[in-house]
């Protein structure tokens, strides 16, 4: 799966988690840029991504994710394993 497809998958999960159907994400989008994307919402988003892509992030990986691009890279890395 290429990065754009992963981004599209993440975008849909974030839209559902935050109830923002028109939200558009880019690789540079960070949680602080998005209404309602706080630490609690982030847990739902992470669990949604893990379930959708059938992967599991380590706590260290989660700590180092600074934007959507890091999430996409994280998913791609797990898919290659």
């Amino acid at each position: 799966m290429d990065n754009q497809a992963i981004l599209a998958g993440i975008e849909k999960i974030v839209q559902q988690a935050l109830g923002l159907n028109d939200l558009a994400l880019t690789m540079e989008t960070a949680a602080k840029d998005v209404e309602r994307w706080d630490s609690v919402a982030n847990i739902g988003i992470i669990m949604g991504i893990e379930s959708h892509f059938n992967i599991r992030f380590g706590l260290g990986e989660l700590d180092s994710m600074k934007n959507v691009g890091d999430m996409v890279a994280g998913v791609a890395k797990h898919q290659q394993e």
């Binding site: 109830g19 919402a41 739902g44």
Partner: protein, 326 residues
């Protein structure tokens, strides 16, 4: 096709409203109905039952439907709602799809999406209606127990009179087993699993036809990265998953006896101390240290002299300490 429309309703939740919902649901978790216990939680005050807020919002949003059945419902409880604050429900209805948000000020407390049908399948269940829910202890499951899994069931019932007084429209329009099933999710999370130290995070349910008089739940995952429990939930009209956090327990301070071992006797003899906020937290520990060292301690408190579990005055007859409040 129905055009989408957006509408708004407002209200406040009082402690009395909370106690009524606790009677209806059986969710008597003290975080919702006991201000003293709630004060010591991470929220610092009583929190509205999330399902109470949800049902109020659904009541307002579905007022035009004479009767309906939920085909699907997804709810995310994003922020706690507190008592005596104006909360606002805002919803959009398009065809049979409902999007509901409940806000307090600028923050969104709850987002729900529902797919409804006016085709209500005939109910196979006759639920007891004259319920007087048995007194139930709030179970306190910890991480280790949740990791091991667990399951249980709750007999479904619906106190019609109370349901109608709290949700006059929904109690008539929503299929009864689905209303009872939704109300019971609050009891499952708040009283059973995780129970005492829980936070209802989200649920995702779809219509189901199960011949049972019980709501059943089963832990299917405990994610210790986030202290998140995932439950499988099934009742006669709905089934799906519930996510709930295990929240941190209030911290307990060391006892006077434990502290005394680390303090030289008479280290503080002749000291007259006034500890502001001496009934709990750092103030409680400070009072105990001073009292253990022979100081004459006075402590202040703001709310309730009975809350300190072990004030220096209670812990030792020889310690010269007392508490006074306003």
């Amino acid at each position: 096709m129905t055009m989408s429309t957006t509408s708004i309703a407002t209200r406040t939740f009082s402690l009395e409203n909370q106690k009524d919902f606790a009677r209806l649901s059986g969710d008597c978790n003290p975080i919702h109905i006991d201000p003293e216990v709630a004060r010591r939680s991470l929220f610092g005050r009583p929190v509205v039952h999330g399902v109470h807020a949800l049902l109020w919002g659904m009541e307002a949003a579905t007022a035009s439907l004479p009767s309906f059945y939920l085909k699907a419902l997804t709810v995310r409880f994003m922020k706690p709602l507190f008592l005596d604050r104006t909360v606002q429900a805002e919803w959009t209805q398009k065809d049979n799809n409902l999007t509901l948000t409940i806000n307090c000020g600028l923050s969104t407390a709850l987002i729900a999406t529902a797919e409804t049908s006016e085709d209500v399948p005939p109910s196979k269940q006759i639920l007891p209606t004259d319920n007087c829910l048995p007194d139930e202890c709030c179970i306190d499951l910890g991480q280790d127990q949740l990791k091991e899994g667990g399951a249980g069931e709750i007999p479904l019932s619906l106190n019609q009179a109370l349901a109608r007084s709290l949700f006059p429209i929904l109690a008539v329009s929503l299929a009864r087993e689905q209303l009872a099933g939704l109300i019971t999710t609050s009891r499952v999370v708040g009283m059973r699993c995780p129970g005492l130290h829980s936070i209802f995070s989200s649920m995702s349910l779809t219509a189901t036809q199960v011949e049972s008089r019980h709501a059943s739940y089963e832990v299917i995952q405990f994610d210790d990265r986030f202290s998140m429990t995932v439950l499988k939930y099934t009742c006669p009209g709905l089934s799906g998953t519930i996510n709930a956090f295990l929240r941190p327990k209030p911290s307990e301070q060391p006892t006077y006896g434990q502290i005394k071992q680390f303090v030289t006797p008479n280290e503080f003899s002749g000291v007259k101390a006034l500890v502001i906020g001496g009934s709990r937290g750092l103030g409680e520990v400070t009072s105990k240290i001073l009292a253990a060292g022979g100081a004459e301690v006075r402590g202040t408190f703001t709310k309730d002299a009975t809350t300190p579990t072990e004030s220096p005055t209670k812990s030792s007859r020889t310690a010269k300490a007392s508490l006074f409040g306003n």
